[in-house]
């Protein structure tokens, strides 16, 4: 498949190049006109170098601690490297550009672009993005391919046998087995190849084509269980195989001139998962019984596809007005084969209602806008947006079974799927007044009506009012300020949906709940002299879910920053910035069991509790550039700190009845701090050759109560207090500190 794709790309490249050459031989009328208005200059037949650059050298890294997090999206591996390769060549009629970064490493990127001016532009880009999740993970499993993860049968048998003796013997057997778990790097790589072509038939008409191919390979962290709650008897955290491909295709024919634009296009996307399921052994059992399975089967991402046809148009109208419309009609399909409900041979699997998912949604999107500037001081804008996601997945009724544990076809409940769909109507109206060239005032209104299926609110309506003030263009002061108030109200409340799943009836999902929202932002810059400016920004926001008894009730966001930039000469620039962000949220709950004649905790307010989240982050950044301040030498320094802490504090009413025997103990504070310092020195021994050195320092410190080594120890799955098996066997993925020092010695060559 990959070979075929590359062959296709190559063929297309040749075809387009051929077309371009043919077009060059027959200049268009527009070109002839252009030539007539310009001084005649003979086209240069030979390639004339414009600029080229290459960095190469040696890189060394020393990382103590979590090397995976340091290299999460990059590869700073030790050894020789070639980076920042740039080759630009241009004649009067065409240009060529080639680029490459960090060649040969996991995050390498390279690309090319060929242009025949006014005729053709062809671009190719290859971008590799690594995702290095953990270097501390360990596993009992062996990946056999095709989604099969095996544990040695002898291990399963020994733990199963030990469980017959006692829970202590079982836990000891688990610990013994885990001591021999294999270490592996949990990672995946995303490779994105993109080919773009724009062919200009004439001055007004373009054909645009894009083909993108994305593959992912490696493993991702997921956990699955075998039984039913609690603990799914047990759950195992495993590196599930990732092997998929997405092919995106776009084509667009576009006509545009001074009066307007009309385009028709097609977009298609195909996601193919080569590993649609994973079958994983149960470390606790070698033999199936009705109360436990020897292996489980989980479905992974289903293959799917989408396509849409798009028509866009815009037209210039009198009074500096413009009307535009965009209509898109498409469909999402997902028809993956359904797997058996259980692979436990000791159970009678409930019959499948159908063989495949048959999931699909029709999507219609329309945007109509009208913009006018009838006078220099008045600007008006109206935009109507319609979005319809009509989920047409057929009803799926299925006998209930969670995992592979204790299924009774006679008593099992029937579950029905809920294919969520929605329609949104959004109208934006804005008017801007510019009484002075440096001042603009904007007032606006947005009305959004939502209509959803299978949600507790059948409909929502939100009105948003906004006013903004923008003073720009003045060389001394710029000020941007905005205030926005909105109110969302639901109608058609369906309490039965909450009752069905045992939710508190005053719980309202915050993504659609009644809400009042206020937001204000201000960005202020003062430039008393050209070489110096001071900037400040403030923003505040509050969401109040005023009708929510349970669930998220409110959240607030406050940020501010202050900084300055100074450039005392063309050789020196220096900047500092400090920012502070605080986010708080409060949600409300009640510890309770389902309502029954014998248990009324569901209605008992003394069992209420709330959770106050507070998340603060301080950000500091500084940079100093000394470019030729010293003879033939460029020096760049930067220093960034992001220092965050968060708390989740529980509260209860004074007459609470939940923590009567043991006291509530608050969770510890969370901390995240990243320090990133860099210095880069380049000395030009010749105008086109520089030798240089760079040093990067990064330090990450973290305290995360849920993901530090005191919380998770995969080698001792027993409960820390009770000694009882703790339900989940983890892989060893942790939040850990790291300190990294990376040095570069490099030569930069320009030509």
């Amino acid at each position: 498949m990959r070979t075929r794709t590359y062959s296709l790309i190559g063929a297309l490249l040749l075809v387009f190049t051929g077309v371009a050459q043919a077009q060059q031989e027959q200049p268009a009328a527009a070109q002839q006109t252009a030539q007539a208005t310009q001084p005649a200059t003979a086209p240069t037949p030979t390639l004339t170098p414009k600029i080229g650059q290459i960095d190469f050298g040696f890189r060394a890294s020393d990382v103590s601690g979590d090397r995976a997090r340091y290299s999460r999206f990059r590869d700073l591996g030790q050894g020789a490297y070639v980076d920042r390769f740039r080759l630009d060549k241009e004649t009067e009629t065409w240009s060529f550009r080639a680029t490459a970064n960090n060649l040969g490493y996991r995050d390498q990127r390279f690309g090319g672009e060929v242009r025949s001016f006014g005729k053709l532009k062809v671009t190719f880009d290859w971008n590799q993005i690594p995702l290095f999740i953990s270097a501390d993970t360990r596993s009992l499993y062996t990946d056999r391919g095709n989604g099969i993860l095996d544990i040695d049968n002898a291990i399963q048998q020994s733990i199963q046998d030990a469980a017959l003796i006692s829970t202590g013997a079982r836990d000891a057997a688990i610990s013994g087995a885990l001591a021999g778990a294999r270490q592996y790097d949990l990672r995946s790589d995303r490779h994105i190849g993109s080919f773009d072509a724009v062919y200009s038939f004439n001055r007004d008409v373009d054909f645009k084509f894009n083909l993108k191919n994305t593959t992912r390979n490696g493993h991702n962290l997921q956990a699955f269980g075998f039984g039913t709650s609690p603990g799914l008897n047990p759950a195992v955290e495993i590196g599930v195989p990732v092997d998929d491909r997405t092919t995106d295709l776009k084509g667009l024919l576009e006509f545009a001139n001074a009066n307007g634009l009309l385009s028709v296009g097609y977009t298609g996307s195909w996601y193919d998962n080569n590993t649609p399921f994973v079958r994983f052994d149960n470390p606790l059992r070698a033999v199936d019984i009705s109360g436990g399975t020897s292996s489980g089967l989980a479905v992974l991402w289903p293959s799917n596809n989408s396509f849409s046809f798009n028509v866009n148009g815009s037209y210039k109208l009198p009074a500096r007005s413009r009307a535009s419309a965009a209509i898109s009609i498409g469909r999402w399909n997902q028809d993956e084969k359904l797997v058996a409900p259980t692979v436990n041979t000791a159970l009678v699997a409930p019959p499948l209602e159908r063989a495949s998912a048959e999931a699909k949604a029709d999507i219609v999107s329309m945007v109509y806008s009208f913009t006018s500037r009838p006078t220099d001081i008045v600007w008006l804008n109206a935009k109507y947006r319609y979005y319809d996601y009509a989920n047409k997945t057929p009803v799926f009724d299925q006998k209930a079974l969670i995992g592979d544990w204790s299924y009774n076809p006679a008593t099992a409940a029937t579950w029905e799927n809920e294919p969520f769909g929605m329609k949104r109507h959004t109208l934006d109206l804005d008017a801007s007044f510019t009484p002075h060239e440096y001042v603009g005032v904007n007032v606006g209104l947005t009305r959004e009506d939502g209509d959803r299926t299978h949600r507790i609110w059948e409909k929502t309506a939100e009105n948003t009012y906004r006013v903004s003030f923008d003073s720009t263009g003045n060389q001394y002061v710029s000020l941007r300020a905005k205030f926005e108030h909105s109110k969302r109200t639901g109608s058609g409340f369906e309490e039965a949906i909450l009752d069905e799943v045992g939710e508190q009836p005053t719980m309202q999902h915050y993504d659609i709940a009644d809400r009042k929202r206020d937001r204000a932002t201000l960005v202020f810059t003062v430039t008393p002299v050209a070489m110096f400016d001071v900037n400040a920004s403030v923003s505040t926001g509050k969401d109040n879910y005023y009708n929510s008894g349970f669930g998220l009730r409110d959240n607030k966001n406050n940020t501010w920053s202050v900084g300055f930039d100074v450039a005392p000469s063309e050789f020196v620039t220096f900047g500092l910035n400090y920012g502070f962000e605080k986010y708080t949220a409060m949600s409300y709950s009640r510890t309770a069991n389902p309502l029954s004649p014998t248990n009324t905790t569901f209605l008992d307010p003394t069992r209420d509790w709330w959770d106050d989240q507070s998340d603060k982050v301080k950000t500091f950044s500084a940079n100093l550039d000394l470019l030729k301040a010293l003879p033939k030498t460029d020096i760049r320094l930067s220093y960034d700190i992001s220092d965050g802490n968060a708390t989740y504090v529980y509260g209860q009413p004074a007459n609470q009845t939940v923590f009567t025997t043991t006291p509530l103990v608050q969770l510890p504070r969370l901390n995240n701090k990243l320090t990133d310092g860099r210095i880069d020195v380049q000395h030009f021994v010749r105008p086109n050759i520089a030798i240089g050195a760079a040093y990067w320092y990064e330090k990450y410190t973290v305290n995360d109560f849920a993901l530090d080594s005191s919380a998770i120890n995969q080698l001792n799955p027993a409960n820390g207090l009770t000694g009882v098996f703790a339900s989940t066997i983890y892989s060893g993925y942790l939040y850990r500190n790291y300190t990294a020092n990376t040095g570069f010695l490099r030569v930069t060559y320009l030509w």
Binding site: T37, R69, A319, W332, E353, L401, N442, E503, T591, Y648
Partner: protein, 328 residues
């Protein structure tokens, strides 16, 4: 429930508001002063200019401009604007005067700055109108009426034709991030948080997801027609539709994630299980306080990845039975 219901209410509101708006526009448009209308008609589009006989009245030609503005010559000629073989470029049309307007009065006035179009002294929307005369295709087609246009930003707020510092796109700063941070510091600061998109590593940039020139999607998102469509244009595996769907996912990815970065696992806006408990407060385990005691007990609803330790298919599932609660 379960079916869309159509009512005339929203449609009537929308149609009414639209009608009022049009009336306002027409009224204001009809009262536009001649002085204000004149400049618009005096600015020939390059297409018209190319068809006009050269030299047209008021135009002096590029060579004349460069006689005095020699310092602008290199940056202009090395830019796409200077490619005379591209019939859409200024060089193939009026040269400098394609953007700056006819220069005769400016020349006759001995370089009188008031008699030539200079973006630095023009109203922002006049600058935008000049640039979008040519930059009027797909990626720029939604500028008019977009968020940045509504806030009086213009092309030269971010771009510089003659003094660009970036490798591409003629930005006034070296990188896209440095441009965006000037107004969007809150969002840009988030890329330094522990859980972030690969922006600080240079693999993505702000414009990977957003089109600052406007788009048909909300939040100036480049792809699709909704937040979900934008996110799943790369995260195609989460596109679905799934047999069993999670309502919050279908409503929008940002219900749970902040794509600019957070200090929580997987860019979640809050830590699990507290995030999940914002919606799931029903009886049994979702309604339990997971305090430090449960942490010591290694309760798998708070240690590790909390709820997702078991409900790992939280974006949706095709498993015929266990998919109902997203555990497989």
């Amino acid at each position: 429930m379960g079916r869309f219901t159509r009512t005339l209410g929203p449609m009537v509101t929308i149609a009414g508001a639209l009608a009022i708006w049009l009336v306002v526009m027409v009224t204001v448009g009809a009262t536009a002063s001649p002085r204000q209308s004149a400049p618009a008609s005096a600015k020939p589009a390059p297409a018209q200019a190319a068809q006009a006989a050269a030299p047209a009245s008021g135009y002096v030609g590029e060579e004349t401009c460069l006689t005095c503005h020699e310092d602008q010559k290199q940056s202009y000629q090395e830019s796409p604007h200077g490619r005379a073989k591209d019939p859409r470029s200024p060089a193939a049309n009026r040269g400098c005067e394609s953007c700056h307007g006819p220069g005769q009065a400016h020349v006759d006035g001995g370089g009188d700055k008031t008699k030539i179009k200079n973006p630095k002294s023009m109203a922002p929307r006049d600058v935008s109108a000049t640039c979008t005369t040519c930059h009027n295709r797909s990626s720029h087609d939604n500028w008019a009426g977009g968020k940045h246009d509504s806030r009086n930003l213009t092309c030269t707020t971010c771009h510089s034709v003659h003094a660009a510092k970036s490798e591409k796109a003629h930005l006034k700063t070296e990188t896209v991030q440095e441009t965006c941070v000037q107004c969007h510091r809150k969002e840009v600061n988030k890329v330094h948080k522990s859980s972030h998109m690969p922006v600080r590593e240079g693999k993505l940039e702000c414009t990977t997801c957003h089109n600052p020139h406007g788009s048909q999607n909300v939040k100036m998102l480049r792809e699709g027609n909704s937040i979900v469509e934008a996110c799943t244009s790369c995260h195609t595996e989460k596109r679905g539709p799934f047999l069993w769907e999670h309502a919050a996912v279908r409503e929008g990815c940002t219900t749970c994630h902040d794509p600019h970065g957070t200090n929580n696992e997987r860019m979640l806006v809050a830590k699990v299980p507290m995030l999940c408990q914002r919606c799931h407060v029903h009886s049994r385990h979702p309604a339990t306080i997971y305090d430090a005691t449960t942490l010591l007990q290694k309760n798998n609803r708070i240690v590790g990845r909390g709820c997702v330790n078991c409900h790992s298919q939280i974006h949706g599932s095709n498993h015929p039975t266990s998919g109902k609660v997203f555990v497989r």
